[in-house]
Symmetry: C2
Subunit: 310 residues, 2 copies
């Protein structure tokens, strides 16, 4: 268990996910060398200050040279251009992966730029916080979270197994599925939730009859829960919606259909219908807590009381 | 500051809010005697076991006899019947209040049953967790939260001031507004957020192509944030929607209109529109954190790492 999984791990992009992989890889000794690349000189300098890796490269092609594993940690809209930039420099036999929240479009964008002698294993760690950038990362981010791998059919099983081992040693659970199914599952568990959170926060900010100050003061009634994911990285999320359009529109259609039925139940005072739904939804949360994916602490374990005023 | 505010405080209903008031009143010595009343013998016995009060009454009329303050802590749909039950037993000069999340319909339901010689000061502490019942309460629940009072115009200012003092000493901030405005503000900061949370959890549970097990496993992508408020008390929330119908339908209409515009932006790949909204919504969260109504800790301060697996 103590052997590094990779001799040279190249991380292209060093935001929340990239920096968390870097810190986890160091903590668990998963790579002999971590090469860090990012687009801007400032972010690269900050990553260096934070000691997130072993070598520093503004040119991603330089970072991937000699690497046996390359993980793209960039917004999904940048996947194609990044693959194009690193393609010619990739070492034969290297594992090439990513962490994008959408898989089918990322595969379509990256595949044409990858030489046939590398192993393409697209991935998605279902983990994060509302913060972004190299300062936001922490080694425990992936512990007990799920990582979904979506290897194309032609990818060798040994490469998938090796990347799985890497993620397992970061503390994650790993599951493989096809890219289209991934995109559908994540549309309902992640993308549509973000969309409706962004939407209600936007709606609340634009009312004539209720001030923004009132919205903020009285947000503990439920609204503030939505503001967390509605403060997630705008570039990342724009790219998610542009790149998982069909699945998002399909799931959004289902959401709206159900919401219209609820609206009608309210209009016609059908209390039993409301009560029945409100009872069923409790069971889902219990299941998520039992599955180890959520805390049972009241209010997410938010601080309460006088010591919480900071 | 150390004098009790009330000599006999009667709490009708001893769920999350009632038990938190009871514990806070004890902690801060706000009432010489706390009389607890609740409908079922089991809950009353549990409240007694927990030592939440000083006397125990299945008949609410018995609890309010001689009380200088009575607070109804029942679902808003039960307000009218409860007021009817206690009306004849209320002491002259008593303050009568409640904690309902809707105010105009509660005032309409209670007013006819209250004698003219009591002070009616309807209230709403904007605080809670997803848990309910007498075991869920804690003394710090109201600290730094807002309590909205909606006294009818004829209520004496001294009674409003006295109830304000009580809530202030429980740690809350107090604001007064008219009932209709309260109902509109809370529709957007609390009621519609609950409705869309209940709705998406319901939608996710009913998909043919995505299993419930997948929804639970991959919920850390955003979905699980919604399950917290979607596990709130079904009776309480059914009553909220039935009793704040007009304001909820109005705010829901705004939400849907905005969501339709977002849906269209996704369909036509209008990335700039998405990016612009996603940037604006970040500022609202910052405002809520600065207003002391939310924690700045990543992921609500949820536990991360190996020590969080319980």
């Amino acid at each position: 268990m103590d052997e590094p999984v990779f001799s040279r791990l190249a991380l292209i992009g060093i935001g929340l996910i990239g920096s968390s992989i870097a810190l986890g890889a160091r903590k668990h000794k998963l790579a002999a060398h971590v090469a860090v690349s990012t687009r801007t000189a400032e972010t690269l300098a900050r990553a260096k200050e934070l000691g997130l890796g072993d070598s520093w490269h503004q040119d991603p092609a330089e970072a991937v040279a000699g690497a046996d594993c390359v993980i793209l940690c960039v917004p999904v809209g940048a996947s194609g251009a990044t693959a194009e930039a690193i393609g010619p420099a990739l070492a034969p036999g290297a594992i090439v992966s990513d962490v994008g929240s959408v898989k089918a479009s990322v595969i379509a964008a990256m595949s044409p730029h990858l030489p046939p002698n590398v192993h393409f294993v697209p991935g998605h760690p279902v983990a994060g916080t509302e913060y972004s950038g190299p300062d936001a990362g922490f080694a425990e981010l992936f512990e007990n979270r799920w990582v979904i791998l979506t290897p194309p059919p032609e990818t060798e099983a040994t490469a998938v197994a090796r990347l799985s081992q890497f993620w397992s040693r970061l503390g994650a659970n790993v599951e493989a599925m096809n890219a289209r199914h991934h995109d559908l599952v994540l549309a309902i568990t992640s993308h549509v939730p973000h969309l409706i959170a962004y939407n209600i926060v936007g709606t609340a900010a634009h009312l004539e009859e209720v001030t923004e100050s009132e919205v903020m003061k009285f947000s503990a009634g439920g609204f503030r829960d939505f503001t967390r994911i509605a403060s997630s990285d705008p570039t990342m999320w724009r790219d998610v919606f542009l790149n998982n359009r069909e699945a998002v529109l399909e799931m959004l259609g289902r959401f709206t259909e159900d919401l219209t039925a609820l609206q009608r139940a309210i209009r016609f005072a059908e209390g039993d219908k409301l009560f029945e739904l409100f009872t069923r939804t409790r069971a889902i949360r219990r299941g998520i807590i039992e599955a180890g994916q959520e805390t049972a602490a009241p209010d997410f374990g938010r601080p309460h009381g006088a010591d919480s005023q900071d």
